[in-house]
C-alpha cells in the first residue's frame, strides 16, 4: 500500500547534510541546512518557488559546490569526493534529460556507457529498465515523439541503470496529466519497495507528497522550517489539516528573490521548443 511501507527496518542514514550553505552574491539560496535521510525513505522537499530546493539538490548531485558546510551521500563527501558521489546517485532533473533526437534505447545505452555499466550487462539491464518502466514497445521510437509521462519514465530508467542507492527526482510529475503522474509514482514506489532505493523528491502537488512520501522537509528562504511525516506536520497546523494547509500556514507565498529571470526563460523556452 502506498505510503504505508514506512516501517523501514534498517535505519541507517544515507544522505546527511551539515550546515550546507550556498550563496549567490547577496542572496543566500541555501542557509545552513542540516538534514538526514534514511535508507529506503521517500523523502519530500517542499517549499515555494525559489525556497532553495533546486539549489540544495544541485549541491547534493555535485552540480554546484557549496559555499560552506558539506554533505555526504551514501558515505561519500560531496566536496571531497564528487566523482564517487556521482557513481552513487541517479538524478532526474526538472528539465528534460532524455535526448529527444535519440530513441529510448539509445538514450539508455548512452547512460549505461557513461556510468560504466559493463558491456556484457548493458542490453540486459536496459531491457530490464524498459520493462520496469513500461516502455518496452516504445524502445526504438525517437523520444521526440514520446508523451510527457513516457519521457519521465524513460528518464527514471536512465537514472537507474547503474543501480544507484540514492535517487533524486526534481519535480518528476510537473506538467503531467493525473494518470501519467500516477504511473510515475507507481514506478517510484515499486523501486523503493523492491530495491530499497532512497528517493529525494520535490513536487508542488501536495496530494502526491502526502500520499507517497515517508517524511518531508519544509523549506523556505533557504532554511528548514520543519521536518516530519506528513501526519506529524499536518497535526502541527490543525487536527483535520491537509498538506496544502500546512504549506500555506508554514511557508506562505513564493519568494521574490527566487528563480532568476534566466531560469524561467530557460525553462519556458525549453518547454515550448520541445513541444
Amino acid at each position: 500500500m502506498p505510503g504505508s511501507t514506512a516501517n523501514v527496518s534498517v535505519h541507517d542514514v544515507v544522505v546527511q547534510t551539515t550546515a550546507l550553505t550556498r550563496t549567490f552574491g547577496e542572496l543566500t539560496a541555501v542557509d545552513h541546512v542540516t538534514l538526514s535521510v534514511n535508507r529506503g525513505e521517500i523523502f519530500g522537499l517542499i517549499g515555494p518557488n525559489g525556497a532553495g530546493k533546486s539549489t540544495l539538490i544541485k549541491m547534493l548531485t555535485t552540480l554546484l559546490p557549496p559555499s560552506s558546510g558539506t554533505a555526504t551521500v551514501a558515505g561519500c563527501d560531496i566536496v571531497r569526493e564528487p566523482a564517487q558521489v556521482r557513481r552513487q546517485i541517479g538524478y532526474v532533473p526538472q528539465l528534460l534529460s532524455a535526448d529527444g533526437s535519440l530513441t529510448g534505447y539509445e538514450n539508455l545505452l548512452l547512460s549505461a556507457r557513461l556510468y560504466g555499466v559493463p558491456r556484457k550487462e548493458r542490453a540486459q539491464r536496459i531491457n530490464g529498465a524498459l520493462k520496469r518502466m513500461g516502455l518496452m514497445e516504445a524502445a526504438n521510437r525517437v523520444v521526440g515523439h514520446f508523451s510527457g509521462g513516457m519521457i519521465r519514465r524513460l528518464e527514471i530508467a536512465q537514472s537507474l541503470l547503474h543501480r544507484p542507492p540514492v535517487l533524486f527526482l526534481d519535480e518528476p510529475t510537473v506538467g503531467l496529466d493525473p494518470s501519467a503522474r500516477e504511473a510515475v509514482w507507481e514506478r517510484v514506489l515499486d523501486l523503493r519497495n523492491t530495491f530499497q532505493r532512497t528517493m529525494i523528491v520535490t513536487s508542488h502537488h501536495m496530494d502526491e507528497i502526502d500520499e507517497f512520501c515517508d517524511r518531508i522537509a519544509l523549506i523556505d528562504h533557504g532554511g528548514i522550517v520543519a521536518v516530519g511525516t506528513p501526519s506529524e506536520l499536518k497535526a502541527l497546523v490543525a487536527p483535520d489539516a491537509t498538506l496544502d494547509d500546512v504549506f500555506v500556514r508554514l511557508l506562505g507565498a513564493g519568494n521574490e528573490a527566487g528563480e532568476s529571470y534566466g531560469d524561467v526563460r530557460r525553462a519556458r523556452r525549453a518547454a515550448r521548443e520541445h513541444g
Partner: protein, 278 residues
C-alpha cells in the same frame, strides 16, 4: 545482516558504486558521447545535405572566378587545386565554430545536466562532443572530394592520403568545436553566442592560407596567420589531398600544432564545462 522479508536487498541493488574506474572507461565514455551524436545524424540525415551546400558554392562560384586571376596560387598549382583544401578546412571550421550553440541548447533543455551528473570525467565529455563534430565534418569532406574530382582537381586517391585527410579533418573539427564550446561556456546564451561566432569566424578564415597564400599578405597579417591553427590544418590538408601537394611547414609540425592546441583547449573547456551546471 538480518533484514525483514520483502526489504531484503536483491542482487540488483549492488551498485556500480564500489567499482573503481578503469582505464577503458575513459574511452567508453568519450565514445558514448560521440556515438550518440552519430545516432542523431542517422535519425535525421537532412542536416548533412544542407551543410554540403556551402562548400559547393565556394568552389563553384568563388573558385571558378578566382581561377582566372593569375598569380594567386603559388608555383604551378592550379588555383582550384589550391582552393580545394582551403574550402574543405573552411567547411569544417564553419560547422565546428557554431558547435557551442548545441551546448547552450542542451543547457537550456537540461540534457547537459545529465552529462554533468554522470561520473564521466569532464574532459571525456568535452572530447566526445569534439569527436562527434569531426564525424559531421567527414560527410562534408566526401562532398568536396566528389566535386573537386568533377572540376578536374588533381586529388590524391591513395588510401593512406585519404586516411590522413580524415585524421586532419577530425582533428581540425575537434579543435574548433572545443574553442566554440569554451565560448559557449562563457557567454551561456544563444543570442550572445551568435554575435561572437560571426565575429571570430571571419578573421580565422581570412587570416589564414585557406583561399590565398600567406606570401601575398602584408607582414602583420602574415604573422597573425602563422599563429592561426587553421593555417596548419589547411597546410596538412593540401599536402595530403593533392597529387602535387607538398606541405609548407611539414606534416609533423602541422599535426603537432593541431594536437597540442586541441589538448590545451580541451583542458580549458573541461574546467569551464563543469560550471555550466551552476
Amino acid at each position: 545482516m538480518a533484514m525483514s522479508g520483502e526489504h531484503v536487498a536483491l542482487p540488483e541493488s549492488t551498485a556500480e558504486a564500489s567499482r573503481r574506474p578503469a582505464l577503458g572507461d575513459y574511452a567508453t565514455q568519450t565514445f558514448a558521447v560521440a556515438a550518440a551524436e552519430v545516432q542523431k545524424l542517422y535519425h535525421d540525415p537532412l542536416e548533412l545535405l544542407t551543410r554540403a551546400v556551402q562548400p559547393v558554392l565556394w568552389l563553384m562560384l568563388f573558385g571558378e572566378v578566382m581561377a582566372r586571376v593569375r598569380g594567386v596560387a603559388p608555383g604551378n598549382v592550379p588555383y582550384l587545386d589550391f582552393l580545394a583544401g582551403g574550402i574543405l578546412a573552411q567547411s569544417v571550421l564553419f560547422v565546428a565554430i557554431f558547435y557551442g550553440i548545441a551546448a547552450i541548447w542542451e543547457l537550456d533543455l537540461g540534457v547537459l545536466q545529465r552529462y554533468l551528473v554522470s561520473p564521466a570525467p569532464r574532459s571525456a565529455l568535452v572530447l566526445g562532443k569534439a569527436m562527434s563534430g569531426g564525424v559531421r565534418a567527414l560527410s562534408q569532406a566526401l562532398i568536396v572530394y566528389i566535386l573537386a574530382l568533377l572540376l578536374g582537381v588533381g586529388i590524391d586517391l591513395h588510401i593512406l592520403s585519404i586516411i590522413g585527410v580524415a585524421a586532419v579533418i577530425v582533428l581540425g573539427s575537434a579543435l574548433f568545436s572545443t574553442l566554440s564550446l569554451i565560448i559557449a561556456c562563457i557567454v551561456r546564451t544563444r543570442e550572445r553566442f551568435m554575435g561572437i561566432g560571426q565575429v571570430i569566424t571571419m578573421p580565422i578564415f581570412f587570416a589564414s592560407n585557406a583561399i590565398y597564400p600567406l606570401s601575398l599578405m602584408p607582414r602583420w597579417l602574415n604573422i597573425v596567420s602563422h599563429i592561426n591553427p587553421l593555417t596548419y590544418e589547411v597546410d596538412a590538408l593540401r599536402a595530403l589531398m593533392l597529387v602535387k601537394g607538398t606541405p609548407d611547414y611539414g606534416l609533423p609540425l602541422d599535426f603537432a600544432i593541431l594536437l597540442a592546441t586541441t589538448a590545451v583547449l580541451t583542458a580549458i573547456a573541461a574546467r569551464l564545462y563543469r560550471r555550466m551546471g551552476y
